[in-house]
Amino acid sequence: MNAAMQQETFVDGISFWAQRLPGWEIAGAVLAGRADPPVVAGRRPSPELLPPAERRRAPDSVALAMEVAAGACAAAAVDPAGLASVFATTHADLAITDYLCETLVRAPLHTSPTRFHNSVHNAAAGYWCIATGCHAPYTTLSVHEYSFAAGLFETLLQVASDGRPVLYVAFDIEACGPLAPITVSHGLLGAGLVLSPVRTATSRARLSWSTRPGGGAQSTAARSANTELIGGNAMAACLPFYEALAAGGGPVTLALGPDLLLDVVLDSCAPAPP
């Protein structure tokens, strides 16, 4: 698939959350090699967008996705209501999948209705829209090990196609129960972006992109020390992209499928004058 370099896109908001890298301020410094990660890992984010009771009750997937979605919008100084979004998650809420499958064997008539409706792949996106009063559409997708790149691609496509800013959220959580050795994913990892078709007062980087045929061997590798910090999360493929953002720019190649690559070039840019 040969595509000409697309029109420019701008990175207006960046967010990141992992237990050893809780927030983009810390994560950016650590990924760039400018700081050491915190010694004690955080448990899970506590998104202030949710009322206190729901903050405790929310599934990990929802808490994590809300945290990075809100973080990216805050960094971009953009109102989430009205902002279209793309959510990528390889496996959605693996803890709920384990619960549903286990309950089905043990006591199917006692399935929790709340856990059931929270089991849909788009639960985090749905809660995000409810919390922000957002009526703009969202898309939720999975492309297995290519999920981060595929979600980024869909976001770039929507920015190019519709000419409006789009929020991107990528996340995966920890697997548990008998599923854990099969569907391997450790810890919590969430990453967000707000991408804009024009340079704005919060633009941090200019992004150009294209796709080409090619196998995963050609994709950019993350620094091994950083890989260890989020070791084994199913969304770990997002790391090289965020390393480039932390480093102030650079080329990144991400595998978009078994024989398809997404080339991205990031250049730091000054925000547009007010």
Partner: protein
């Protein structure tokens, strides 16, 4: 939100109003459901007003409900070369791919454009979670998955997209979309964006969702499952009948149609499993689909409604249709025939909408005897000749995800 996260004074995106879009030709399509394999079987049952629903014979644990089950999947494993992908959902995908000359049409498109220029976008809600459920039923004494089911790719959402990509030998953009019951209509919108931006010359879109225990007992826990065949828009409706379906369509810029004229997508921002009380998200999606297609409400001949036969959906949807469309519009839910195929429902009902405009027949509702007083004159019990070959198909999902498509037999000027 705290002060530092406050959005006050931040940039608000302007309200997005889509313009008219270039239509795309649907050069092949097929669907398989409880009504049978392929388009002729669907049409025959629709015209004859025969339902595909049957008493639940799927779950091991008893559940008094009716289901739309595709026969024969249990004894139809995938060919040996795809054995890693074998599971009920991918079997249905494979069965659906064999119908209506779809594989030949895709092969011709591949020859025209190249395998890397054809996107593959498939919707599902639960993908092959049925295989994960089976593994939990058959755990080894030390609590591990049985050896035959230690196949990571069937225990994740992209089981569907990954399998069909392999089966079709396509190298372009491929994604599995999972926005619950709107999944397999949103793929049409994505395909339109890809082709509009020149990132694909053709797209195979579709959806596959199969019966599984977690969905049957999950909807049961929400008290949404009917003990009788579902009766969309009936004043005495008692809930949904769950079904399964799979199907695919080939979209290109040029062709003889039928045409994808427009799409509209929105979010309810109201509740995870209950529609917005005024149908706000539905109205936004219908408005955007009409705007992109350049159509007025009066141009629409048939609307295939979401019409699940749940108390809330049908009441809200009936009011929306009554408010937005003239009495001459024929609207119905076909879930009395097929059941609610969840992540594949949007595609299944898009295919039924395409059959309706191609054959000039608008289905009514099935199993419904007395319409809810909330229904306007648009919602019909009986099948009828179709006045205008333009249709909408609407799908509303958990998480408040809405998508409406517009189809027509003629390319608009």
């Amino acid at each position: 939100m705290t002060a530092e996260r406050s959005v006050a004074g931040s940039r608000a995106p302007e309200h997005y109003s889509p313009g008219r879009m270039t239509p795309f030709s649907i050069n092949a399509f097929t669907v398989t459901s409880a009504l049978g394999c392929g388009l002729a079987a669907q049409l025959d049952m629709l015209v004859g007003r025969r339902s595909g629903l049957r008493a639940n014979d799927f779950t091991e644990h008893e559940l008094a409900t009716w289901i739309g089950r595709v026969g024969g999947l249990e004894t139809a494993p995938l060919p040996e070369r795809f054995s890693e992908w074998d599971c009920r959902n991918n079997r249905l995908a494979w069965l659906a791919l064999q119908q209506d000359g779809l594989l030949d049409a895709i092969a011709r498109a591949r020859a025209r454009h190249g395998a890397g220029r054809i996107a593959l976008l498939l919707g599902t809600s639960t993908s092959s979670i049925g295989a994960t459920e089976e593994a939990y039923r058959r755990l080894t004494p030390d609590g591990q998955f049985p050896a035959a089911l230690r196949r990571p790719i069937i225990h994740t959402a992209h089981s569907l997209g990954g399998f069909v990509q392999r089966a079709l030998g396509l190298d372009g953009i491929c994604a599995t979309i999972a926005t619950a019951c709107s999944s397999s209509v949103k793929v049409f919108a994505q395909a339109a964006r890809l082709m509009r931006c020149g990132l694909a010359d053709a797209a195979v879109v579709g959806g596959v969702d199969t019966l599984c225990g977690s969905v049957l007992f999950g909807f049961n826990s929400l008290e949404l499952v009917s003990t009788e065949p579902c009766r969309p828009f009936d004043v005495n409706r008692r809930g949904i009948s769950i079904g399964e379906a799979g199907g695919f369509a080939l979209l290109e810029r040029d062709g003889a149609g039928p045409w994808l004229l427009g799409y509209g997508e929105s979010s309810d921002a109201h509740h995870m499993s209950s529609p917005h009380p005024d149908g706000l998200g539905a109205r936004l999606a219908i408005g955007d689909a009409l705007a992109r297609s350049g159509l007025a409400a009066a141009d629409i001949g048939y609307i295939n409604l979401h019409g699940t036969a749940s108390a809330r959906n049908d009441e809200v949807e009936a009011r929306v249709i009554g408010d937005l469309f003239p009495a001459t519009t024929h609207a119905s839910s076909t879930k009395g025939w097929t059941g609610h195929a969840l992540g594949a429902a949007g595609y299944l009902e898009s295919a039924i909408s395409l059959l309706a405009i191609q054959h000039g027949i608008a289905p009514g509702n099935l199993n419904t005897t007395t319409l809810d007083p909330a229904c306007g004159p648009q919602i019909r019990l009986d099948n009828a000749p179709l006045a205008r070959p333009v249709a909408l198909s609407q799908s509303f999902g958990f998480g408040g995800s809405n998508c409406v498509l517009a189809f027509g037999t003629e390319r608009p000027h």
